[in-house]
Amino acid sequence: MLDFTGIEKERLRARWVSSAEAPEFVEEVNAFIDTLKELGPSPLKAAVEAKKEEQKEAPA
């Protein structure tokens, strides 16, 4: 649904990790952080910011 509404689906990840599997959890989180760094800031935030900028520049 994220993809359908224009947000990269890689930004959401659901994995089941047992409480006994700390290394796997660390690996998972680190991998997700790397993915997010590659993707850069969310377009959602950018769109909101852009809208604000637009308004500042508007003749008002």
Partner: protein
Amino acid sequence: MTNGVAELENTDTIFIIGSNTATAHPLVATRIFRALEKGAKLVVADPRKNQIAEFADLYLQHKPGSDVTLLNGMMKVILDQGLQDQAFIDANTEEFDGFKALIDGVDLDACAAATGLTVDGIEQAAALYAKAGTASIVYCMGITQHTNGVDNVKSLANLSMVTGNIGRESTGVNPLRGQNNVQGACDMGGLPNVLTGYQPVTLGAASKKFADAWGVDELPTQIGLTIPEMLSGIEEEKVHALWVMGENPVVSDPDADHVVKALEKVDLLIVQDIFLTPTARLADVVLPGCSFAEKDGTFVNTERRITRVRKAVEPVGESKADWEIIRDVSNAFGFEMAYDSPEEIFTEIAELTPSYGGVSYGRLEGDGIQWPCPTPEHPGTPFLHKDGRFTRGKGLFHAIEYKGPAEVVDAEYPLWMTTGRVYAHYHTGTMTRNSVALDREIPEGFLEIHPEDAAAIGVCDGHRVRLASRRGEIETRVSITERVEKGVVFMPFHFEEANVNKLTNPSFDPIAKIPELKVCAVAVEKI
């Protein structure tokens, strides 16, 4: 509204001024969204960047109370660039020369300075409005609740006439009425100066007609009192009894502390409502009215459409329909009213009111009828002033000079304050704050303040502040937002606990007597 709501869908340019349309009139906003889908342009002017402004092609954040300046500036651009509809002006209006002389004298740089806008912004707004094939003006309380509210409305009328955007489909000057039946209440003469259908009480023939129908010798031909006059009348001991029906002036009227004093002083206060409102709590007698679902009758909406309302459930407890209460009180006082049903009353309305003359219950099935509808064959009137034929004959231009708000900011009260609504609540919250879901959505009042102003007084989002004006003070929490400009704060008025109307200015428009709820000067300090 001069035009119908659905006509907005086919408008080329919609100019919204002083209306929080998406929040306060969502079904009108639906039509505006549909127009935008079809490629219409949207211009929004409002001191607060409300939700509908997010969709504007051009948003103008003008200073509170500077509407006339903005509109005169736009008309200056229109006349300078020859964008006016001279044929319409020549054929259908009068007093244009006097108006033009005033507009010629307008200085755009001064307009820009007074409104806090740029000349370019005013020029763009004028071009978008004047160059459109059809252009509609939509306005609300942001225009009317000023000491120069009448001037604001006349300026909008000027703007529509100068471009010929009136008397045609999808054009017009369109005030959005708030309550579902406020249009109907005004139509029925719920104003101090008119009888039904806006027949002046001062007009001998009209009051004679009513006197004959009611079997009395004569009716008063003097104009009655407006709300502010009633309150001062109580203080001067000229008014001794007050009967409040479905209003909550303790929360809705300006300078609330003063209102409470007056209501406590009056010899007899009767309040007729469906809930025990803060006003009803002050009453000597409370008359339980019933809700829309418990009574039969008609409602008239913002586009002058008369529709039927039908009883779905029996009235709760001892409550009665308003017409029954009035009839019973009248009968007890010795003036016999023999009405047995709302339909009987409606038949009398149609007989005595030219604009309702052709309307009967039989014709109100389905979608209802838009007045004027003078004869039983008349189909009703979707838009007024067709082909430039105005009610008074020719459209009258008014040369309107800018008058500032009654109260301006100074060192003691350095911030402009404006008030309004939020999406979860309606008016004084009599109904919406009794709804668990809605009250949970927004349970308390708040003050919208610009980040720089917030920083200056040292508060963060959610901090509590004391807010004071020359009339009183209240405490509330702040909501920091760029929706308002630096120097301007906004507060919704639905909440009796933090009643912003303790602060607002009771100064009123000299003609309409509407108070300046939209502008006053306040000071904010951290608690």
